[in-house]
């Protein structure tokens, strides 16, 4: 019976391509980009140049959008306001907005070129980065978002001889964050509601220089930092899925089947732990294959990862409990769209924040991802178990508190409240 609850959770997740995209593909892509882009920078040479970037747009986003709306106009009614908002938040336009924003002007020179010039641009080495937006990108994007169809692809070509600064990367992360927000608003509410409040597309960005005295290589740094960031999304994803069970009255059926609500909450906890462990296993296997990162002290890695996964399970349980108590998906949405980014910032997933101020590094240790990241670095530098005891203690305390709180908040009398 408990097994059935867990199996169901796994099946549903595995059949949601957009969730897989966020939980697996996104971190892999970011680890790759960040490692290659920042590799030379982090390994000593930190001089910043103006980056020349070319953008080729093969299709027309507006055309994609209107054909998407036309194709699906029987499926959902949207008023002019929502349409306008959606149109403003289309991915290619959003990306261009970010790349040409005021903050980016100082480091990034963006040139729009057309298809014919593409091959020449690639060969000439004139540009450090060439961004190719394929035809039908926006259509694919919208279809993937709403109907879980084929995922859109974006081609990025780097000129290997040049360096890309961390702020480009930061903004790529911001972009991801924004798209995630839209995804969450549309996808997790399971439909297009009238008063969609889509992200406005306003970008704030600061330029950070990366501490070049860091001993850890970029690939190691970003493998661990992206892992501890993206593991958090598992909690948000599972909590939103479990709220759909409530909003669709499936939870009523579970209650009528005489499953105690606490058993249900436990199934959320356990499935989150399993999924988080699988995610980390895949990311580490990838890092091992591509960067030859070896996990020598594997027992320590395992211990730490299990502990982190339990914390993530606790977060999922707590978010589920809050969602159920207040009968709204606000808690899990806020977590996925905002809190993860804040945690990631303070936990050092974007860059080594402790180099800015020791206070920040203390704050970072109080986030689950920050505490885990610090411990992963210790282990990777042949640290002993003693060195990670404080981190493990922090994680353990968090796990206990989260689970207690979730247990207290979850409506325990099942249907009869």
């Amino acid at each position: 019976m408990f097994l059935a609850l867990i199996q169901k959770q796994m099946k549903i997740l595995l059949r949601s391509p957009s969730e897989i995209l966020i939980l697996l593909l996104m971190p892999i892509v970011l680890i790759l980009i960040l490692s290659f882009a920042l590799g030379s920078l982090m390994d000593g040479n930190s001089e910043l140049d103006m980056i020349e970037m070319a953008v080729v747009e093969h299709g027309d986003e507006k055309v994609d959008f209107s054909s998407f709306i036309k194709e699906n106009q029987n499926q959902f009614q949207l008023d002019a306001k929502s349409l306008g908002k959606m149109e403003e938040s289309l991915p290619a336009g959003l990306l261009m907005k970010i790349l040409t924003s005021k903050e980016m002007k100082e480091i990034l020179q963006v040139t729009k070129i057309d298809d014919a010039e593409l091959e020449k641009a690639k060969n000439s080495g004139e540009y450090s980065v060439i961004l190719e937006i394929p035809e039908g990108f926006t259509l694919d994007y919208l279809n993937a978002l709403i109907f879980h169809k084929k995922e859109p692809t974006l081609n990025v070509h780097f000129n290997e001889n040049e360096q890309v600064t961390s702020s480009v990367i930061k903004d790529l992360l911001d972009l991801f964050q924004q798209q995630y927000t839209i995804h969450t608003l549309l996808g997790q509410n399971n439909l297009l509601t009238e008063d969609m409040d889509l992200a406005s597309g306003e970008i704030t960005s600061t330029i950070h220089s990366v501490d070049s005295t860091e001993k850890i290589t970029a690939s190691v740094y970003y493998t661990f930092s992206m892992t501890v960031m993206f593991i958090l999304y598992v909690a948000g994803t599972i909590a939103s899925q479990s709220f759909i069970e409530k909003s669709m009255n499936i939870f009523d059926r579970i209650v009528l089947a005489r499953i105690h609500p606490i058993i249900y909450l436990l199934s959320i906890l356990v499935s989150t732990i399993i999924i988080a462990l699988l995610q980390v296993a895949i990311l580490f296997a990838f890092a091992n294959l591509v960067f030859k990162i070896s996990f020598v002290q594997w027992e320590l890695y395992l211990m730490l990862t299990v502990m982190l996964a339990i914390v993530v399970g606790g977060i999922a349980a707590l978010l589920t409990a809050i969602n159920y108590r207040f009968n709204s998906a606000n808690a899990s949405n806020l977590f996925s769209t905002t809190l993860v980014a804040i945690f990631a910032f303070f936990g050092g997933s974007y860059f080594n924040i402790s180099s800015l101020s020791p206070v920040f590094s203390k704050v970072g240790m109080m986030t689950p991802n920050g505490a885990a990241l610090d411990a992963y670095f210790s282990i990777s530098q042949n640290g002993t178990i003693q060195e990670i005891v404080p981190n493990m203690t922090i994680l353990f305390t968090m796990a206990v508190l989260l689970m207690l709180l979730a247990f207290v908040l979850f409506p325990k009398r099942g249907g009869t409240v």
Partner: protein, 310 residues
């Protein structure tokens, strides 16, 4: 027997269900008829132990189930108004899941899944996810899930809303069969008068949180036994004509839409001379007229002054 006594539910300050009394005996089909917002779903949610009443009792075989819901939950099948299914799973996977969490033995569940798929007419169910099903198929599966454990009581909340006539007929036939062949007691909620009239032996009519009439079909219609309903077809409706009709003391519930006018009139009244006189006076050409027995719809209109569907 399931019974509710003085059942009341208040949300914040708004009263959704007010002092409702009703009962269901094994093997009968009971209808709960009322317009949207009448409090049917809220009543059913309390009846099926999903929300706690603000006041009153829910009794199963004379024992309260508000605090001890297990005994009732065991014999209850609930078909919610919304489609409560995993859209990312297939029909079989849904049934498998909901069967497993009820701790049904593997072999039994396997058999039951086949039987249920046949009962709901999905035996050749396509191997696709429920999200790709038509509305009618989803509705049927929504019913199927509630049938897995062979409940003694099946509670159905508007099971035919928003589907094509063919699926609707299939569902109505299924309900009738479940009752006749398996002696399943059924509580059937709807705002479609014809469905309730077709299926149910006993009927409760709800409006604004209260039961405003109850009894067998015949008993309820007897409320209007002294009246007949008259339908007129005119060439063209005029307002003066309607106004003049309204002035007549012997007729009531006058409604006029396009070229059709309807009203109620006491059975023994000879209203024809009066009607013809008014037609003559306002130069209205009467194309046909018809005298009908009252329907449940008319009873509702009589009791509330409103129609069921608004």
């Amino acid at each position: 027997m399931i019974e509710v006594v003085n059942l009341t539910k208040t949300f914040k300050k708004a009263s959704a269900v007010d002092q409702v009394n009703l009962y269901v005996e094994p093997g009968e089909i009971v209808g709960l008829l009322g317009p949207n917002g009448a409090g049917k779903s809220t009543t059913i949610a309390m009846l099926s132990t999903l929300i706690a009443p603000t006041g009153g009792e829910v009794l199963f075989n004379r024992k309260s189930v508000v605090k001890q819901p297990s005994a009732l939950r065991k014999v209850l099948g609930v078909v919610p108004q919304e489609i409560a299914l995993y859209t990312e799973l297939t029909a079989r996977e849904n049934l498998q899941f909901f069967g497993s969490i009820q701790k049904m033995p593997k072999q039994l569940l396997k058999k039951r899944i086949e039987i249920v798929l046949e009962q709901i007419g999905l035996e050749n169910e396509p191997k696709k996810l429920v999200k790709h099903y038509s509305g009618g198929m989803k509705r049927r599966l929504n019913i199927g899930v509630a049938l897995l454990h062979e409940p003694e009581y099946l509670i159905m909340d508007e099971p035919t809303v928003g589907i094509d006539p063919q699926s609707r007929n299939h569902i109505l036939e299924t309900v009738k069969k479940l009752n006749e062949q398996l002696n399943m007691a059924i509580i059937y909620t709807s705002h479609y008068m014809e469905e309730v009239e077709f299926l149910c032996n006993r009927i409760y009519i709800m409006d604004q949180g209260r039961v405003i009439a109850s009894g067998t079909k015949e008993e309820i219609k007897a409320i209007l036994s002294s009246e007949n309903k008259v339908l007129l077809k005119l060439e063209k409706l005029s307002n003066q004509f309607l106004n003049e009709l309204m002035k007549q003391p012997e007729i009531s519930n006058i409604e006029g839409k396009e070229s059709i006018v309807s009203f109620s009139v006491a059975k023994e009244t000879n209203f024809l001379p009066m009607l013809l006189a008014i037609c003559e006076k306002h130069k209205v050409l009467l194309k046909s007229f018809q005298v009908e027995e009252p329907t449940l719809e008319d009873v509702f209109l009589h009791l509330t002054g409103r129609t069921l569907r608004n």
